[in-house]
């Protein structure tokens, strides 16, 4: 098999993420591509429709604060034990982004609908909630099975690009994702997939059945870029923990617009820190 030119420089790998595109990213503990996120902020991407599957923390807050996001679709944004996500909260209160509030399994199902090539997926729950009330794009039907009870249908989410960080990839574009199988669903659902990885694995990940079991095939992968500690200051499962000190620093600085600008200057634009 020919090795396609999948492994690229980070900036080149990120080119498919154009202004206005529908970008899906994983939750805060599943391999968040923070180095790539900082590169996107530096490049000044605009008007993203950001889907965080199913929640986000620093990544969404940073992109929102830097003015990269037009629409956010997710179930929650929070810095967890470091407090609320300050730029997210400010953007909601200031009405500078469009918010599509969801609930976690709704986003998983909507991505799985795209993965399966069906226009929608049903989901239990939601009936009688204001989450449903404010989602004009979600429909309710009476289930044709059972007692004709109401059930919500969620339209498929088909991202232009899926972007995540993973432990390793090979030169064929195969990416080892381990137990974070929602990353495979994201890739299946998206038109293009970009992965940043800690390192390049020699050989073909699909050749070893044990490794293959945790591998997203390169067939789905547009670009791979190597970013050591590419999730920092967020964790990479089984590899490194969150940098709590830095997250606390972010929470403090991002509490004001001025502090956030200073944070971006120092930790995003200064290449030494990126």
């Amino acid at each position: 098999m020919t090795a396609f030119q999948t492994v690229k420089s980070l900036d080149e790998a990120l080119l498919p993420i154009v202004d206005g595109c529908l970008l899906v990213v994983p939750r805060e503990v599943s391999g968040v591509p923070m180095t790539a996120t900082r590169a996107l902020v530096r490049r000044g991407v605009r008007d993203l429709h950001l889907v965080a599957l199913p929640t986000s923390s620093l990544q969404a807050d940073l992109l929102i604060g830097a003015g990269c996001v037009a629409t956010l679709e997710t179930s929650a944004v929070s810095l967890g034990e470091y407090g609320p996500a300050p730029r997210f909260s400010a953007a909601i209160l200031g009405r500078t982004i469009t918010m599509k509030d969801a609930t976690c399994p709704a986003l998983h199902s909507a991505l799985q609908a795209a993965e399966k090539g069906v226009p929608f997926m049903p989901l239990r729950g939601l009936i009688g909630s204001d989450v449903l009330k404010y989602r004009d794009d979600w429909k309710v039907i009476d289930s044709p099975f059972g007692n004709a009870d109401p059930i919500v249908l969620l339209p498929a989410i088909k991202p232009d690009v899926a972007l995540f960080h993973a432990p390793m990839a090979d030169r064929f574009g195969n990416v080892w994702i381990g137990r974070q199988r929602e990353l495979a669903t994201m890739a299946h659902a998206a038109d293009k997939t970009i992965a940043t990885v800690e390192k390049i694995h020699d050989g073909n990940l699909l050749d070893d059945p044990i490794l293959a079991a945790g591998t997203l095939p390169g067939f789905y992968v547009e670009s791979v870029a190597v970013c050591e500690r590419g999730a920092w200051p967020l964790p990479l499962p089984d590899h490194y923990s969150a940098d709590g000190e830095h997250l606390a620093l972010y929470a403090r600085m991002a509490a004001t617009a001025e502090g956030f600008a200073e944070y971006v200057d120092r930790y995003v634009h200064d290449k030494r820190a990126a």
């Binding site: 909601i92 209160l93 009405r95 609930t103 009936i127 204001d130 989450v131």
Partner: protein
């Protein structure tokens, strides 16, 4: 410290009793007291219930990605879960989204997380809010992340069974809360004063019973070290247990 106990220990003991004899308890992120209760129940049950602590690789079995928790709940394989709310009202509705008009909010919370699914399908949802005030326990939530009850034709095998706060324990049934007991050091009058919604109560409201010495011993000596992996600050603060205390 054996003769007395901390408020967190009282709450964890009460929650462990609410959990009852079930197969699987799952605890969301940032919930150290429910996590303590679940681990306590597991110790008492000799490995039953299964306990899943989100965020703890040692205490979660998921291998099918972030969706597995919700699929598992949808299958009826999660018996107990815990939810909180920026606001909780007397109908058991919870609000994790915002205060004020949704389109022009005054306060924004993180978001509904999985509540709009889990509240419907997990048979025993235990509501948990350590700030018991008229700000948090309101007549009517401003945004319903998930409702306390549903119409008869809505698929709803799950829902709230109790609400525990820093002041008291309520049970929940037929769309209303009932005061079950008031924690030591608190009063019924204080509960009424600080609760924004109506609730039922018996003529005499008992005091929440303290944890037994055996329970305290189990919590402090067996549960606390397990907890420290995920909640080191909490374990140190409440139980005086640090990572160093049981490393190696």
């Amino acid at each position: 410290m054996n003769a007395t106990f901390r408020p967190e220990e009282l709450l964890a003991d009460q929650i462990a009793q609410l959990i009852g004899d079930v197969r699987h308890v799952a605890v969301g992120n940032a919930s150290p007291i429910p996590a303590t209760a679940a681990l306590l129940a597991r110790e008492r049950g000799n490995g039953r219930p299964y306990v899943s602590l989100l965020g703890s690789p040692k205490n979660t079995f998921w291998t099918d990605g972030a969706r597995e928790l919700f699929d598992c709940a949808g299958q009826g394989r999660i018996d107990v879960f815990f939810l909180s709310g920026g606001q909780i009202d007397g109908q058991g509705n919870i609000n994790l989204v915002s205060v004020g008009d949704y389109d022009h909010p005054k306060v924004r919370f993180p978001g509904s997380f999985g509540s709009a699914h889990l509240y419907y399908v997990v048979p025993k949802v235990i509501l948990f809010r350590t700030e018991h005030s008229r700000r948090t326990l309101v007549p009517q939530v401003d945004f319903i992340s998930a409702p306390g009850a549903s119409a008869g034709n809505v698929y709803r095998p799950g829902g709230p069974v109790a609400l525990i706060t820093n002041r008291c324990l309520f049970s929940f049934a037929q769309g209303r809360f009932t005061l079950v007991s008031v924690h030591p050091g608190h009063t019924v009058a204080e509960v009424v004063e600080n609760t924004g919604f109506d609730f039922d109560r018996p003529d005499t409201v008992p005091e929440t019973p303290p944890p037994s010495p055996a329970t305290l011993k189990l919590m402090r000596e067996v549960v606390a070290p397990q907890l420290a992996e995920l909640y080191p600050q909490f374990a140190a603060h409440v139980f005086g247990v640090g990572i160093a205390a049981f490393a190696g």
